[in-house]
């Protein structure tokens, strides 16, 4: 009888305490909004443009872009003129230090190649009216998600969290973003998105409410 009582007490102990401790391990509350706001990159977030100021995704005014392009073009022209002068001296005289001449030419050509690369990038951005492609923004948001979500989800627990809701419109797309979107032949993904568009729409309108984050969920 005594043994039976001891067994029942022990059983009661497990029934009462063990599930509670297990549940404590299974569930966790994370305030992603606080974590996200604490991230260093969020200090640069501009809600008006939906981009990060002072980074690769920042929208640059067209006037600034035109100045940059003009400055680079002038630098290239100056280098070419200097090189041309070197060539004139070298071709008009037979008494020249040819090795030194070629060293100078190499220096100029290396600088010109670097300037042309910069000019091509700036010109491309100017063609897009100073709006960098959305890919630049995606690389930054990927970093944010990795830093904020992956760290919190690493415990393997079920997270009851509050998704942040920022007062921000959609980021302004670059000139070529729509073209890039059309380039990818991933119709199944688009169909999947359209099938779930109702659910997605609901979720985005209520992102300040708690959402259950699936354990081991990657998406």
């Amino acid at each position: 009888m005594i043994t039976c009582k001891k067994f029942l007490r022990l059983l009661s102990f497990f029934v009462v305490f063990c599930p509670a401790s297990l549940f404590a391990l299974e569930f966790k509350t994370v305030d992603f909004e606080r974590l996200l706001r604490a991230h260093p990159l969020m200090k640069h977030f501009d809600p008006d443009s939906g981009r990060f100021k002072g980074t690769i995704s920042e929208i640059i005014p067209v006037e600034v872009m035109q100045q940059r392009v003009a400055s680079l073009t002038a630098q290239i022209a100056a280098r070419e003129t200097a090189k041309s002068e070197l060539a004139r001296q070298a071709l008009n005289s037979t008494i020249v230090d040819e090795a030194a001449i070629w060293n100078s030419i190499r220096e100029h050509d290396t600088a010109i190649a670097s300037l042309k690369k910069q000019l091509a990038a700036e010109q491309e951005l100017l063609d897009q009216k100073g709006v960098p492609a959305l890919t630049t923004l995606f690389s930054q948001t990927t970093t944010l998600v990795r830093d904020v979500v992956r760290g919190a989800a690493a415990s393997g627990s079920l997270l009851i969290n509050k998704l942040p809701r920022f007062r921000s419109g959609l980021p302004r797309p670059g000139e070529n973003d729509l073209r890039r979107f059309f380039f990818y032949l991933d119709a199944p993904r688009l169909e999947k998105y359209l099938q779930n568009s109702g659910t997605i729409g609901l979720m985005f309108s209520q992102t300040d409410r708690p959402v259950l984050f699936e354990r081991n969920g990657e998406d």
Binding site: K83, S84, L86, A87, R88, A90, L91, T94, V96, E98, I101, W102, I105, R106, D109, A113, T135, F138, R180, F182, F183, Y184, L185, D186, A187, R189, L190, E191, L194, S197
Partner: protein, 240 residues
């Protein structure tokens, strides 16, 4: 914002446009190249003088060029490559070309072979090497391969234009790339391309149907949205 019927029409329009958008075969697959074999061989003359012609091509954008005086060691393979290069459509490959022995002073050769105002260009190529690299794709369980022939050379060019004489020096890089599935035979070849032709990569051959078949059977990994290839030249940088 849109009515339901508008959404459907927009979705159908999107799908139609996506389906009809032309794309390059290998841009559909995502490769993860592993270097399997690599060999660097110094050579006396360039095998395929693509970077050299590209230098002339760039010059032709700013100034007319009437002929090329090429100061380089002659080789049968160089001459063979030169005979095929006009097929690329590069205007520089169509210019009359005179070969002069390499060595000595480039500036001296320019003074000796080019009349000021003739719009001829002296092109020199030395310090050549060929890199042979064989890559296998981790994403296809090492069934997809890429053979690369990469050539480096020091290019020097002189154009004694009296109004605006021009000189140039750069390290030229040209390559040929063959991507194939299991065997480099017709029917298994995904693409054959060369660089540079008019400052960009020229695709000589692409088998879109083969790539689509391999992707649909999951033998190649489909490139996900918004993945930017980290390699500037379609393959990882080769060691020195």
């Amino acid at each position: 914002m849109f009515a339901k019927s508008d959404n459907k029409i927009f979705a159908l329009l999107l799908l139609f446009m996506i389906a009809s958008w032309p794309s390059a075969a290998c841009s559909l697959a995502l490769h993860d190249w592993k270097l399997v074999f690599y060999l660097k061989i110094p050579v006396s003359a360039p095998f395929f003088p693509l970077a050299e012609l590209n230098t002339v091509s760039e010059r032709m954008q700013n100034s007319p060029v009437s002929s090329i005086v090429w100061a380089a060691s002659t080789s049968w393979y160089g001459r063979l490559a030169l005979s095929f290069l006009p097929l690329t459509g590069d205007p520089a490959a169509l210019l009359p070309m005179i070969n002069v022995p390499a060595g000595g002073s480039m500036l001296g050769l320019a003074r000796g072979h080019l009349t000021p105002g003739s719009a001829g260009i002296l092109l020199g190529s030395d310090q050549c090497s060929i890199k042979i690299a064989f890559f296998s794709d981790r994403n296809s369980a090492y069934n997809c391969h890429q053979l690369v022939l990469l050539q480096n050379s020091r290019i020097r060019a002189v154009q004694p234009d009296p109004a605006c004489p021009w000189v140039h020096e750069s390290i030229g890089q040209s390559w040929l790339s063959l991507i194939f599935y299991q065997m480099p035979i017709p029917g298994r070849t995904l693409s054959l391309s060369m660089y540079p032709v008019r400052r960009s990569r020229l695709s000589i051959y692409e088998d879109h149907q083969l790539v689509e078949n391999l992707l649909s059977h999951k033998l190649l990994l489909r490139r996900p949205d918004l993945v930017v290839d980290p390699y500037a030249f379609d393959f990882p940088e080769l060691p020195e």
